[in-house]
């Protein structure tokens, strides 16, 4: 199966560039900078050095023996992106794009954030590289991810509350795009997922593909084979794209993306685009699957995990879905919470609520699979940030 977009930024029928004219020049500049960087040994060496000495790569591949034994089926393996500096895979992309921003001579970076993981990653690399940084975050998300707001501010970023629309990730992206269109000459927008107008889905996928590359050889080394199933949660879809990218060409490896099933099937109760009644349309510069009403207005979403509370999905995922290469399913808030608890108890690893969706799916299918089968789960982030929210949802805190 073909990987990567065509020259116009399309993945099959999906992708493209649906933005105000003012952004066309900076998007073209970004694509040129990225193409140049990809061929540039110095850029590659600098990124590899920071990945190793700053971000903590390579992250380990961990065999979850007690969890597997408890489930009594397939062996479960965890790619430990939660051990990255800042606590999630988001640092991979933030590092790459911040280096690109420097190369383009931009002194200011902006970002959107939902769970706060991407915002923290961008604030971190901005501090590292001496860039001015502003992060847009919905007020609803600021409430449920307070520790991440404090971290960003501690590192010198300005966190701007977004009070429009649904006050979550979608609205933070709207606001970041408005900032970018106003300050294009000095500012680079570090988009946090495989979303948005071309070339963002391509760039973010490339910087996240380090996950797949590492785990492919780690898995080979430890098992002498390939996993039978690879599972990742899909909000915008960057950690999934990063790990899937190494396995797409290996047709006998099943790939499953897990969306947020929320608390019900109705509009506004979940964020499952593929598995919950979405359809193709344009949001945030790209043609992809969305949760929208009959008139093309974006519908509200819900997920217990702020990072998956988003109505669109990366265009490459839409292509993979159409081609049948990746299947997409959903896991409810309650199931994710159960997995959050189970992984903490059995392995001493507290997963992010986002990643807990992937763990929950693995836990559902593992018992029916043979003991010698292997499931690889991308553990995209750690869950310390979620403790307060979990306590609140479970009624143990206000």
């Amino acid at each position: 199966m073909k990987t990567g977009p065509d020259r116009r930024g399309y993945y099959g029928a999906y992708g493209g560039v649906f933005v105000p004219e003012t952004l066309m020049a900076p998007l073209a500049e970004l694509e040129r900078a990225f193409v140049r960087a990809r061929k540039d040994r110095t850029f590659g060496a600098r990124l590899a050095e920071l990945q190793a000495t700053f971000a903590g790569r390579p992250t380990p591949l961990f065999r979850a023996r007690r969890l597997s034994a408890r489930l009594g089926g397939a062996q479960i393996w965890l790619k430990r992106e939660d051990l990255c500096h800042t606590g999630s895979h988001k640092i991979n992309n933030a590092l790459g794009q911040a280096l690109l921003a420097r190369q383009m001579g931009k002194s200011r970076v902006i970002a959107e954030t939902g769970a706060g993981q991407h915002g923290v990653a961008v604030a971190t690399v901005a501090a590292l590289l001496g860039l001015e940084c502003r992060v847009y975050m919905g007020v609803e998300d600021m409430r449920r991810q307070r520790p991440n707001v404090d971290r960003m501010e501690l590192m010198g970023a300005e966190v701007v509350p977004v009070d429009s629309g649904s006050r979550t990730l979608k609205d933070a992206i709207n606001e970041a795009l408005r900032d970018w269109v106003t300050n294009v000459r000095t500012t680079h927008y570090v988009l946090g997922s495989v979303l948005g107008p071309h070339p963002f889905p391509m760039i973010v996928r490339e910087f996240q593909s380090v996950i797949g590359q590492e785990v492919f050889s780690q898995f080979r080394k430890q098992t002498r084979g390939l996993p039978d199933l690879v599972v990742a949660c899909v909000g915008g879809g960057s950690n999934a794209a990063g790990i899937f990218s190494a396995f797409i060409a290996h047709e006998r490896v099943r790939l499953v993306g897990v969306e947020a099933g929320g608390r019900g099937e109705g509009a506004g109760e979940h964020a499952a685009r593929f598995a919950g009644g979405g359809s193709p349309g344009v949001l945030h510069g790209t043609y992809t699957w969305l949760l929208q009403d009959a008139h093309g207005q974006i519908q509200p979403t819900h997920s217990i995990s702020a990072g998956m509370d988003y109505p669109a999905v990366g265009p490459e995922h839409a292509m993979w879905r159409d081609a049948g290469r990746v299947s997409y399913t959903k896991v409810s808030d309650a199931e994710a919470l159960e997995a959050f608890r189970m992984l903490s108890e059995t392995e001493g690893i507290i997963p992010a609520l986002e990643s807990a969706h992937a763990v929950a799916y693995a836990a559902q299918v593992a018992p029916a699979m043979p003991l010698k089968a292997n499931i690889l789960v991308n553990l995209s982030g750690r869950g310390d940030k979620d403790l307060e929210e979990v306590a609140r949802v479970e009624g143990r805190a206000p």
Binding site: G165, R178, V181, V282, G296
Partner: protein, 266 residues
């Protein structure tokens, strides 16, 4: 010649710039929009841009975002906007109407169906805020075939090549965005505006209309000396927000735009 081209020709004969007024359809209600468009014409508008409200208007500043929220809250749909255009025409209004929209409402409607219904309702053109020439193929042919002018946009960051291509593919007029940024009133005009208007005029035979950030008669007068048309949007939208769903609305709008329209005359 389309109604849009006629409006610019008439203004040129009168040695003045055309005055273009933007409002969001359905703000506060679609019934009021009929009155507001008539009031804009009486106040001296040569052309009306009618915004189709969108839940995620990334090219718009706070005024138009709030207007879109009010319009959606009053139950406005793209179909309702087209029915309102027909209602305006049924009152004998022949002021040119350009539908100002994001891509997704049109995609959800169906591009062919939208083109057919918009033309049948009496719209004259369509302007997309988030469809650069690279993606125009999806919309341009169907809208053009239905007889609608697809109005091209140019921005301060557009290269000369891009402006030329956009203008060649478009019809009616070239909408020149006055500054990098979103819609909304500003205290001053961009310093490089004069140069970019001159450049745009050299690159196309289409009339050049300038919008984004123009809100006062003084600003209109300055731009009117350089361009073929001047667009005022958020300032009118802000008036509508203050008055709301009231029988006074039409009169307030007419009184508010009259000095803006007069400022288009030398």
């Amino acid at each position: 010649m389309s109604r849009i081209s006629e409006a610019f020709t008439r203004a040129r004969k009168e040695r003045r710039a055309a005055f273009i007024a933007y409002v969001t359809a359905g703000d506060p209600t679609l019934d009021r929009t009929v009155e507001v468009v008539q009031a804009l014409r009486r106040g001296g508008a040569d052309l009306v841009e009618l915004g189709i409200p969108c839940s995620d208007p990334i090219a718009d500043g706070p005024s138009n975002q709030a207007a879109a929220e009010r319009a959606l809250a009053s139950g406005t749909t793209p179909r309702g906007v087209l029915e309102t255009v027909a209602a305006i025409r049924s009152r004998g209004e022949d002021i040119p109407i350009v539908l100002f929209t994001y891509a997704n409402p049109v995609l959800a409607y169906g591009v062919e169906e939208f083109a057919r219904d918009a033309r049948a309702a009496g719209a004259d053109g369509v302007l997309f805020t988030d469809v650069p020439v690279e993606e125009l193929e999806l919309f341009g042919p169907a809208l053009g075939a239905a007889g609608l002018d697809v109005v091209p946009l140019a921005a301060p960051t557009s290269s000369r090549e891009r402006i030329k291509t956009a203008a060649r593919r478009g019809r009616g007029f070239l909408y020149l965005v006055s500054r990098a940024g979103v819609t909304g009133a500003r205290a001053d005009l961009a310093p490089e505006l004069e140069a970019s208007i001159r450049t745009a005029r050299k690159l196309t035979k289409l009339p050049v209309a300038v919008g984004f950030g123009i809100s006062t008669p003084r600003q209109v007068a300055r731009v009117a000396r350089l361009a073929h048309g001047v667009v005022v949007g958020s300032a009118i939208v802000d008036r509508i927000a203050v008055v709301g769903d009231s029988d006074r609305l039409a009169e307030v709008v007419q009184t508010f735009v009259a000095p803006l329209a007069r400022a288009c005359r030398p």
